[in-house]
Amino acid sequence: MTKEPLKLIDEYLERVKVYLPIDSGEILEEIRTHLIESAEAIGNGTMTQGSTIMAIERMGEPQAVANEYAGSGKKVGPVPAEYAQPVFRMLLVLIGVCAAFLVGAYVVGSAFLVPWGIIGEIENFPASIPIMLIVNILFVLLIIGGISLADRDKMPQEKTRLEGVFGIGTEGFKPKARTDAAGEIIFGILFGVIALHPAVQVLYSTAFVPFVGIIAALVFVDAIKGGMFLVAGENSLNLIIEALIGIVWIVIAMALINVGWPTDYFYGSIDGVTWGFVDLEAFFIDNGIPFFPFDWIWIFIIFVLVVTNTWRVIVDLTKVAMYFRSRRDLWWHGDWGKRQHAKGFRHRLSKHYEGRDEERRAYEDGYQGN
């Protein structure tokens, strides 16, 4: 299979990026220029697939190159040494988020929800979330060990499966796509309307009712934020608003985890003919089902809500700091979609090479052309 030289370089840089600190754009740009010039020199002034592969091989393994920059050196641990840094980073964030959330949820529960009579006692503490986290981490480590075996024979410029997993984090740094922004508007309004609809309101548990208005307001604000991204793309003001919404979601989650599953009833058939309210808990007891799973499902939903919003807040604030460092204002018409800059960069370079396709095929390094 043949690939464009610049695609090969981009794939290699994606691999290097996995092991670098988040704010490493300049480093990657410097390596990119080096690889282009090196590939041109090897190809006697023309960048070919073969010369690009050779340039990449000369640069070295992505892990080693990134480690030289990050200065981390070799690592020892339960995961392959080169993956220690991203894994460690992920674990630290997860543990930090979990610990902060547990403390926050306990404080919110004991300081507000119990005294105000919203809940009778604090539930789900102290073990359920840490247990879930530990189980998930064990799974992650087992999966890493397993799939790293399948990565052994990959070429230096090819992305490994593990790097694909760790690349999820860097993917999140791309500007929000227009379709995502439109989705936020549509689903925000939809969820808000459904949450406030009288036919749904009657299903809520007593403890959950005080939060319905707050949640509906928040999803409407989220829809407005989606509109701002749709109109102006990514800029500091939009990112700050998104981060603030994320923080509010996390705080609300601290209360919600104490409240438990939000509905007491569901619509169902009462006697096989008539439809009406069915008591959720009574349904399980009447049918002899000993395990009531909804509180566990609720914990999982809250866990996902907190992790995704925390990630969002981290990404947004990191970007805002980067924009401030580059002396940008709060508001401007920014980018949308996936890797606008990289595509533009590649497009410009492709134009630069326009008319040199014939030349490109005239290399002598034994590799197949485009």
Partner: protein, 119 residues
Amino acid sequence: MSKADKEMDRWAKEVKRGAVTLAILSLLDKEPAYGYELVKRLEQKVSFLQLEQGTVYPLLRRMEKRGLLVSEWDYDDPTKPKKYYGLTSEGRNALQMMAKTWNILSGEMKEITMEAGYQ
């Protein structure tokens, strides 16, 4: 690999570690250069160093952090933005002292190895 080869490897690494900083400072004292240019000049002028290409850039970055170098991006060719490195006054002072020491050392080492019968 013989013990002598291994010892040579170890020794060469130690010498290179110190020499590469001096080589970079000397090359940049003549004129500013961007990473790739500098890598090529190092390959041409000091073949002994035989640096991995990926190690030169982090080294430049560390020297910049230590205040020996200053850098500036050149976007004249937007397809290949280049980060040019040059010496700061501190870098120039350091180069002066390092070059002086290196010359004394190499002179003395030459003398001592010649006395031992090696050229």
